[in-house]
Assembly symmetry: C2
Homo-oligomer: 420 residues x 2
Amino acid sequence: MKLNSFIKVDKESHFPIQNIPFGIFRNKFNPLPRACTAIGEFVVDLALLERKGFFKRILLKEKDIFSEPSLNKFMSLGRKACGDVRNEIQSLFGTERSEIRDNLVLQSECIFHKNEIEMCMPVTIGDYTDFYSSKQHATNVGIMFRGKENALMPNWVHLPVAYHGRSSSVVLSGTNIIRPKGQTKSDDKENPEFGPSKLLDIELEMGMFVGKGNELGHPVSVDEAPEHVFGMVLVNDWSARDIQKWEYVPLGPFLGKNFATSISPWIVTLDALEPFKTSRVKQVPEPLEYLKSNGDWLYDIDLEVKIRTAQSEDSFIIAKSNFKNLYWDICQQIAHHTVNGCNLRTGDLLASGTISGDEKESFGSLLELTWRGTEPLKLPNGEVRKFLQDGDEITITGWCDGDGYKVGFGEVKGKILPPL
Amino acid sequence: MKLNSFIKVDKESHFPIQNIPFGIFRNKFNPLPRACTAIGEFVVDLALLERKGFFKRILLKEKDIFSEPSLNKFMSLGRKACGDVRNEIQSLFGTERSEIRDNLVLQSECIFHKNEIEMCMPVTIGDYTDFYSSKQHATNVGIMFRGKENALMPNWVHLPVAYHGRSSSVVLSGTNIIRPKGQTKSDDKENPEFGPSKLLDIELEMGMFVGKGNELGHPVSVDEAPEHVFGMVLVNDWSARDIQKWEYVPLGPFLGKNFATSISPWIVTLDALEPFKTSRVKQVPEPLEYLKSNGDWLYDIDLEVKIRTAQSEDSFIIAKSNFKNLYWDICQQIAHHTVNGCNLRTGDLLASGTISGDEKESFGSLLELTWRGTEPLKLPNGEVRKFLQDGDEITITGWCDGDGYKVGFGEVKGKILPPL
């Protein structure tokens, strides 16, 4: 039977009752950040519902877990408990149950229109890891930097390559991005120069948040991996290509990346994504035993990147991709990350790397879309872009198409401000 | 006049009253982790002294800051306030003041022998950054991996190269290190294999902890940098060379490093290190303007690495180096790290990278000491080492030589356990 809520939800909404994402919000009535979910255009105060006793059978041992300023404590309970809470929310806001449906006073206390609240960082992030799991992206970048013959490094098809990013500069959607300054070196100059990045770029990614962690020295197997994932968000991993190019040998990206990484405010659970699982591409060569995952742990999530320039009121789509374009799935990523005993902690963010597909329109960065600036994008209003200019606003959105409904992620957006 | 404490301190001790490092401890009388300092063989409970009102003039706005389970809140107060507290401790435990000297009951409550307490992680670490600031180390590694002609990458002399490490696996001295498993590939085989690392190594490093942080988008200049450093510790950045070699192209080290990084428990403040400042090597080419530091921000800290094998009761010194062997100083590291707007937060750990000197005996890793295993170390008991074997215990120690006293860091140690 199709799930329905007593809250009216447009069929284009990212947040029908089938979704029930988690976030942190505050509002003018209560400035303290606390947990919420979204249904259609409305945000539901879970802290209030918990205090009123709605989750007491599930959250027996917990007290005011939704009144915390981050979701970490809730996420640490593990997938079963979080799933039970999500089921209870779906039931409470369905058409059958009356406790909230028929209580207008309670509704006025716990349901707010999205325009009347402010979303906050949902998670206190410990470590942020960035994978490099789209074969097309790794190939594109490889061709540009090393030529077609050596495009993919030999290790790439054997393991999900990754590096550690910076967690301090992970920011919430809507945060302006100040154009970074740094050292760059032109090929035709002998010495490096200092100044604002001229090759500021986006990276279309998705990220998963770790729910239950693992102890140092105790790897998580591919089969156990889903138990450690709380849910997913959209990620824009802003990149300064000129800074990156000069600094990254031999230890990898640093200042070219760590000035900002934006995430969307709503975490969509793996349970909500379950109906949208899709098969992974056949991996040749076959991965080593510890990377052989049972089942397919990728999802059919449509992704779209839009730009709005300072001169334009309209946004223009510049890329359309899909999460299923990844070669390495989320279970393989977790199994690899922990196989040496590395510990993941509740709240750690593991991003996918840029998600590019086969077609040029599906490339997830301006570096690829404009082929290093050699094929500038022509926007419908006549403007041209190689890389980002000050005033450009980038919005990434993503959703799964269900039968008459969507399960979506909302959006992650950020606008480029001139350097200080 | 020479500072002295009413607590008797051996002249070889790392912790005379001139030092006053900060740490976190607990004991059988009170299992809650709380702040302490060290004087000679004794540990002083700062939480108790604070509750008794000893720091109330300095820590006016704070309450029970030393009863926190980490030093973060204290460190966030900035160098002036932390320095004032340190001065007050020196004064309280000097020979002139009577409040503690003449109060045996209070002494029994707040002073414990080091054998009767347990040290804990001193800091909640946000991000962990690892620099690569020893020219000799970078050159050695470069020669081994790329040949003499291309040993140093062109960027190395222009900027302090660094990458992000993993903060979740930073562990306290004394924590056993489980030999990591992972993918490695022999040059003579077509495909990678999975198994325990065969080339497990140490890295002799030091790390600084950030005190006051900076806001995202607001760089810290070289001149402001010292205000953001709380103090320093010894670091052993364990490395699995075979895992690292196969995985690190093109995004840098990941699983080869993130299984464990050990730190010493005592944080020695920059104020305590001030008398041991030493001049930096002349930097040619001259660095860009934002990296020109006023004064010399390196310290004359003797460093020593010892090994004790499963077969031996004795430890053997395998390397002697010095912190002053670094090319890039701590202010240049911070200025570079933040020049793109990257924010440092209180408790972030910035490590130096392996500290190697010019002579072979001063190389800070087995990779260099045994020249990739081609020149095995002969230990005095007849054993031979290329890389670490199960049961090997590594101890790093470091100290500054003052006039009749030392300012030291204690030690960071760890023993290799077989893979699980």
